[in-house]
Symmetry: C2
Subunit: 406 residues, 2 copies
Amino acid sequence: MKINHNGVTEPSGFYACGRYTGMKYKRRDLAIVYSEVPARYAAVFTTNLVKAASVIRNKQLLNEKSLIQAIVINSGHANSCTGQQGIINNQKMAESLAKVLKLDVDSVLTASTGVIGVQLPVDIISEGIEKSFIFLSDDRQGAIDAASAIMTTDTVSKEVSAQFTIGEKLVKIGAMAKGSGMIHPNMATMLAFITTDLNISQSLLQKAMSDSIIDTYNMISVDGDTSTNDMACILANGLAGNDEITEEDDNYQAFTKALNIINIELAKMIIKDGEGATKTLETTIQGAKTKDDARILCKSIINSNLVKTAFFGEDANWGRIICAMGYSGAYMNPDGLSLMIKSRFGSVRLVENGVPLHFNEELAAEVLKGNSIEILVTLMDGDCEAKGWGCDMSYDYIRINGDYRT
Amino acid sequence: MKINHNGVTEPSGFYACGRYTGMKYKRRDLAIVYSEVPARYAAVFTTNLVKAASVIRNKQLLNEKSLIQAIVINSGHANSCTGQQGIINNQKMAESLAKVLKLDVDSVLTASTGVIGVQLPVDIISEGIEKSFIFLSDDRQGAIDAASAIMTTDTVSKEVSAQFTIGEKLVKIGAMAKGSGMIHPNMATMLAFITTDLNISQSLLQKAMSDSIIDTYNMISVDGDTSTNDMACILANGLAGNDEITEEDDNYQAFTKALNIINIELAKMIIKDGEGATKTLETTIQGAKTKDDARILCKSIINSNLVKTAFFGEDANWGRIICAMGYSGAYMNPDGLSLMIKSRFGSVRLVENGVPLHFNEELAAEVLKGNSIEILVTLMDGDCEAKGWGCDMSYDYIRINGDYRT
């Protein structure tokens, strides 16, 4: 399998553009993704009870028969908590794109990201769509522009792509994501748009997506806040020309393997770009009683403000890690717990079978200087394992979020 | 009822002291509370699966027949995640105080607060106890010294007291607490020591305490981290001379009313002293479907880093409040939601029946300058109500926690 950082225009027949329409100050704020033929569609959505208008509509459009040909995404306004007017504005956004691309409105998805509770400037968006769609292109630039147009507090755009073969057919997957704050493991906690030219049944496309979410996007956290707008969706247009995948055979496994890599890469890129993050944290729990226990323990560590600030301060204050595991709600026996931290500067064992070790503080300080830290926890409760990804919490997290809306 | 800020020596027969023994750098680090007669004992403890040695022991000592006469508390070391050696050291700490006060060791409680995972310097503590107990006094100074000796990252000590009468008998309650970080609503998320000269059965003392926790300490949050050491305990020595309270009569109600006030006051003092806090937030949910829904919604708001940083930035970014309610797990219908913020500078309505209002940004900015903000949410789902207390999140939270252990 070949992994690259090309984006949504990598698979055959996909076009994209990203433009500035005036919603945001001097930054691209509108992206369009287009498939030259109708594509099968699968997605997962935020579990927040408050759902953005776009999430509500995309969910309604999700069924085994729906074929999607375009997505329009705006940044700057989340169009969430905007009542009936928000629903109407979101529909208008879809209609505007359907009109210029001469599509049925139900083959157009929408997505919004930005400040909650402000009505969409729907005239600016409609005008923006009319002026933008002519820039749709199937080359690298189209993907680059689209990926940058969906950013909010992101500091870098996030793209990844993969290639694999089914028989003699080359299959491509491309993807872009945005996400930096309001990131918390619970369904898909950001926006991700994945394209592929694979030919696959809708039900298996959805299954692959739903399965992949669990150990990728659902295992990351920046700040414990689950957004109202999150969605990870995939369009599969079949132009790779492979025979349709209709069962969980080797070809399906090849696809899910590639999809997992795509989703893990995007998840890690989101974490690396976490608001104010100076370090990424990768937590591994081994020897847990159940897979769910392992996942919950991972998440509790990466969600703890005290763990996050300790790593920002480069302090081997490992008690906070154990404390976070203890209140997670998952089962674990602290007496069988071993803990080690690792970075490119070395590794240091902190706890062995529940007993704190006299560790070399200087070595620990050295290890903690790394900007990518591994937290390795081994339990003696079973043989289940999970991984989670988070980041530290710095002064910049406060600066960014004390000053976001204005 | 009379409320004061006297501490644990306020009720008849209680003595206290707080001393410097050398565990911490130039700060008082050892407190003793003593009752001249054996007292009934009730307590609630952390729900963290990892429990400090003191919590484990105090829990074992909690039963209907146990009589307690003294508590020894050290700050600087939490004696948590310290394995079998931690259990032994904690027992030694109790034995040292029992010896000098000539008490049975099972009538002595212990409490520890500070860094997790470091063994107690038990020789320093034993020597400190021997040198300190002679300073036990039943006057105001004893209480003041004890309250300051249990502080860690606290910037102010926390004491409160109340008086009420049962028949012709004057009953007094005194209390001190510590807590500033690792504060999260889940049982008692800090240390609180309450004394009273009330005569009451142990079972009712425990009931009053357990009931009072739910809407006081359990409704506050600084950072979403539940400590391994938390405990709120009460000693009742009966010296007020009232007839023993043995049923839930008017006298019991008078006591629970006073106890609630004590616990709410301490809870609010902890929040006001939250690590790095510049503002306190009081959230009220009205019209919720159930009392639990109301509590969960309150907690989710005060736990949200994005809500906390928005208030630090004095930004009326109310979407984050609704977002936090949406992912709380509690039921609510966003369409019936109204939201208003209030401070001593005025009030501003932000949402009415699910619809965002065009509010005056200047007025909102003015309201947000207050250092004590009320967040009032009205739902149309039922008639249940709850209150919660939290604080904003500032640069200083990061500074304090990036630099705590060292």
